[in-house]
């Protein structure tokens, strides 16, 4: 037996591909600084490669995950482990980053500072972090990946260079630092309590059995939960969300709403999984936070007039739904949570792509700018309409409806009636939120002569169109066959 760890490079590839891409982009930029589009192409290639390598993980069963970076010694002490849930979240992170990258495609306006290379490299780095945290199986790599997924985003928000972006980035940075402090403290307590850095249900159960270590472990978990709660925009750690979304460009907001959320949820699932297996009593706290989060998010979303802010608050509300199944300590709750998250990510990405396309046209960031979109630009309007209905959980957005069923199922099966009732009330309020926007799409277009927007959404740049087609196709496909999405996590 060799003394060093054993590596399975193929299993690591979903993380390595974007990470290498990030480095490569910077190298290319140093060698040939004048290039503009090559960086984006490289980024796309890296993400597509990552997606391709993540597919085998999705085909594994829960009992035989792909492992890598295994330490010598007893079996199971691998620092990297990909089961179906982790692989699905990796696919989601890489796919959503792909769409964001298409939105960030350089156009004549050259919106962000720092040049395309920095931009692409930041996106890729954060994506690598997101893909890594889903598969992390020990505290060290978990912490590193989580921060890798967060810090580049601060820069992405700040790069826009406006005052609002500065404020948003500052809010995000402060939040990240606080959350990092909490997480590190939590990790330290975890290490003290369980005596090992690898996530292991056995060690957790041992710690829970001992009253002294139990208190330490629960405190640690609470801190970890709070730290990750910042990133997942759970109430009361959500305040940065609307500021950062509204400060960044639509593409960056989309990245925050999709890829970053996946990273945060993956981090949470990784931590909670051994606890669920050990039957820890922290899950009641998760339920309370979920209920409060969805309520606050929905109620505030109801009052927004800026579509990006509305989507930001809707993110908060949906984060509550994502958390909901985790409060039930059943074996399927991580998969349920992941499925809800992926459904939300697909729908919200489509919404952001449309918001991006509309605001590129120079429209103000107000709901009124979408008046009659279904009639004047059917492709954009149709995609946004389907996305909103999916987020609301109404057919024809069947994927959203199925996701709600998936999320409610473990809660009901565990008999948490109070939580289920709060969720019912929030389903209703959520529908009010999204139908309010949908009603605007449905109105008559304003009398002014619309420029020559063809039925295919003319006036939309080609990469944005590609992003729209890509994300909308996934949305339609998963609405017709929800199994494509739900089955990914089993």
């Amino acid at each position: 037996m060799s003394a060093v760890a054993t590596f399975d490079w193929v299993a690591l590839a979903p993380v390595l591909a974007p990470a290498l891409g990030a480095v490569l982009v910077l190298v290319v930029d140093a060698a040939a600084p004048r290039l503009v589009r090559v960086h984006h192409l490289l980024g796309l290639v890296a993400l597509v490669a990552g997606l391709a390598f993540a597919l085998p993980g999705a085909a594994t069963s829960g009992r035989a995950p792909l492992r890598s970076v295994c330490l010598p010694g007893r079996a199971g002490s691998c620092l990297y482990e990909v089961g179906p849930v982790a692989a699905a979240l990796q696919l989601g992170a890489l796919g959503s980053a792909l769409v964001v990258l298409l939105l960030l495609w350089p156009d004549r306006r050259a919106a962000l500072r720092g040049g395309p290379a920095v931009l692409v490299s930041l996106v890729l780095a954060a994506t690598a972090g997101a893909a890594g945290v889903a598969a992390a199986h020990d505290l060290g790599s978990w912490l590193v990946c989580l921060e890798l997924a967060t810090l580049p985003v601060v820069a992405l928000v700040a790069l826009r260079g406006t005052a609002a972006a500065g404020r948003g980035a500052l809010a995000l940075l402060t939040t990240s630092l606080v959350s990092f402090a909490l997480v590190v403290l939590g990790a330290a307590l975890w290490l003290v309590a369980t005596g090992q850095a690898v996530f292991d249900a056995g060690a957790v159960a041992g710690a829970l059995g001992d009253p002294e270590r139990r208190a330490v472990l629960l405190l640690g978990v609470l801190l970890l939960f709070a730290g990750v709660g910042f990133k997942l925009s759970l109430v009361p750690f959500h305040v940065w969300t609307p500021q950062a979304y509204a400060g960044g460009s639509e593409a960056v907001a989309a990245f925050l709403a999709a890829t970053s959320k996946i990273a945060a949820l993956a981090a949470l699932v990784v931590v909670l999984q051994p606890l669920v297996a050990a039957g820890a009593p922290v899950l009641a706290a998760v339920g309370v936070v979920a209920a409060v989060t969805m309520t606050v998010g929905n109620l505030l979303a109801l009052a927004q007039d800026d579509p990006v802010r509305l989507l930001a608050w809707s993110t908060v509300a949906q984060a509550g739904w994502v958390l909901l199944p985790l409060s039930a300590s059943s074996p399927g709750s991580a998969a349920a949570s992941g499925a809800y998250l992926l459904a939300y990510v697909v729908a919200t990405l489509v919404a952001f792509v449309v918001v991006h396309a509309v605001s590129v046209g120079g429209a103000p960031r107000r709901l009124a700018a979408y008046t009659g979109l279904l009639r004047s630009r059917p492709l954009l309007g149709g995609a946004l309409g389907l996305a909103l209905l999916s987020l609301a959980g109404l057919p024809p957005g069947v994927v959203g409806l199925v996701a709600k069923v998936v999320a409610l199922r473990p809660v009901v099966a565990q008999g948490q009636w109070l939580l289920a009732l709060v969720a019912v009330a929030n389903a209703v309020v959520g529908i009010a939120v999204y139908l309010r926007w949908f009603a605007v799409l449905l109105r008559d277009p304003e009398a002014q002569e619309a420029p020559d927007h063809g039925p295919l959404g003319g006036g939309v740049a080609r990469p944005v169109l590609a992003a729209l087609v890509l994300s909308a196709t996934v949305l339609v496909a998963t609405s017709v066959l929800p199994q494509l999405l739900v089955g990914l996590l089993e």
Partner: protein, 490 residues
């Protein structure tokens, strides 16, 4: 067969919403008429042949495309398919106001699709998904194509409709999930065969309470009915017809299919409450009709009263009661369709539906419409020989002699109250006919019913008389399945 019945409206609606947007009213109407006639043919064939489809859709959830026809659903399927044709034909010479004709017809077809899928579904989760399909198209019909004079009322009525019904159906979802996790299957056939065996009494009660409350919103049962009058009043005529004749039936059908069949013990404990609320609904609806000034709203309130009879029949727990409920369902579908077409036509001609405004007597200026109105209200008050009689008579009878496990005194008093309710019905019918039909005034003259409108009215008149004179075939159609449901071993 069943798949054809679902695919045709789905495909045509999808085509109308995408490629067919630019078509003129006539072409769209012909196409929709062809689609609905084809659907009707497929439904008739399916009722005769009774095919069964069973394929997995979302295996992870156990959600299957399980479709079948039995005695309980066959009459409602036929009713829906016939009214699907009726509403399209009725629209042929009145182009919709407020949006494109293609969108209007697509919404009609989608509502039909959702209703047919609901009645065909043999899987509890598929039932829920189908139940939700009708919401968005109906919302569009109300908010876009409703009463052109009052945009604020349209938005309010549409929003209320969606939010109320979503609240109900999400509660129902919680009930379904509880039931499915307790029984271990979502197959409605198996659930009905098991009839709650192996489910603890407390869980049965909970499931029944959730399901009955959720479905009561849709029916609607007394305190949950407040969404219905504004929705009916503002919806376009075709929308009102579908709402009253089809959507409300989804609620009562759900009551039969879910709580009554799957958790009979729990339902038995909830039934007295349902019966009392039904009786209150009868009286409340009748009293509201006595003072209501808006004719369309009056017909809507009378629906609340009629649904009260259905609720009492279901609550009685006897075969007669169940048959009465199913018969009253279909009868109310036909009668309310007739009344809404006549009243909607009058509202168009008068430019309003206020009963206080002095108008020409229908007997003098529009004898055809007047005749239809008389027959409609006569049937509505339960005159023997017309469709309304049998359902209400049998329902009162079943309340007088309920199942042995029901409180006899209570149900007898319910029977008395319901019988008094028919007196109220006679009173408000007379009130309407006196103000609208009788009299000597001949100005301002209005055009009488002609062409397709009159054809449609004649079809409904014939159906009203036929159901009243020969109730046998319909009662025979439902008898066997009802015996199976009520006589199931406890």
């Amino acid at each position: 067969m069943t798949l054809v019945a679902l695919l045709v409206p789905a495909a045509v609606a999808a085509w109308l919403l995408t490629a067919g947007r630019g078509l003129g009213h006539r072409a769209v109407n012909r196409l929709a008429a062809a689609a609905s006639v084809l659907t009707l043919a497929a439904v008739v064939l399916a009722v005769v042949v009774r095919p069964e489809v069973d394929r997995p859709w979302v295996p992870s959830l156990g959600l299957r495309w399980h479709l079948a026809v039995d005695g309980v659903s066959a009459p409602l399927l036929l009713l829906t398919a016939v009214l699907g044709v009726v509403v399209v034909l009725h629209t042929s010479d009145r182009p919709p106001v407020g949006g494109t004709s293609a969108a209007f017809h697509a919404c009609l077809l989608l509502v039909e699709l959702g209703a047919l899928a609901t009645f065909l579904a043999r899987d509890a989760l598929l039932f829920f998904v189908s139940f939700e399909v009708v919401l968005v198209p109906m919302w569009v019909l109300i908010t876009r194509f409703g009463d052109a004079h009052r945009p604020a009322a349209r938005a309010d009525a549409g929003g209320r409709f969606v939010l109320y019904t979503v609240f109900g159906s999400t509660l129902m979802l919680v009930g379904i999930l509880t039931l499915v996790s307790a029984a271990g299957t979502s197959d409605l056939g198996e659930l009905a065969r098991a009839a709650g065996h192996g489910i603890p009494a407390s869980t049965q009660l909970l499931v029944a309470a959730l399901l009955v409350t959720g479905l009561a919103v849709k029916v609607p049962v007394f305190p949950l009915h407040t969404w219905l009058p504004p929705a009916h009043t503002t919806a376009p005529t075709a929308g009102s017809v579908l709402l009253a004749a089809v959507l409300l039936k989804m609620g009562t059908y759900g009551l039969v299919r879910l709580p009554l069949a799957t958790v009979p013990e729990g339902f038995a404990r909830v039934a007295p409450v349902l019966g009392v609320l039904g009786a209150v609904g009868i009286v409340w609806g009748g009293l509201a009709c006595l003072v209501e000034r808006d004719l369309k709203r009056l017909v809507a309130y009378s629906s609340v009263a009629h649904m009260g009879f259905v609720a009492i029949g279901l609550a009685s727990g006897t075969q007669t009661g169940l048959q009465a409920a199913l018969f009253a369902n279909v009868a109310h579908g036909v009668i309310s369709a007739l009344l809404f077409i006549v009243v909607g036509g009058l509202k168009e001609r008068w430019g309003g539906a206020d009963l206080e405004t002095a108008r020409a007597a229908l007997r003098e200026v529009a004898p055809r419409l007047g005749f239809a109105l008389v027959v409609g209200f006569a049937a509505s008050l339960g005159l023997p020989g017309l469709a309304g009689f049998w359902g209400e008579f049998l329902s009162v009878y079943s309340a007088w002699s309920p199942a042995p496990d029901r409180p006899l005194a209570l149900f007898r008093s319910l029977a008395v109250v319901a019988a008094l309710g028919t007196v109220l019905a006679a009173a408000y019918a007379m009130r309407v006919l006196r103000t609208v039909w009788a009299g000597e005034r001949t100005a301002p003259a209005i055009e009488d019913s002609r062409h397709t409108e009159w054809d449609v009215v004649v079809v409904l008149l014939v159906a009203t008389v036929a159901l009243g004179v020969v109730p046998g075939p319909l009662l025979a159609l439902t008898r066997d399945t009802v015996a199976l449901l009520v006589g199931a071993p406890r």
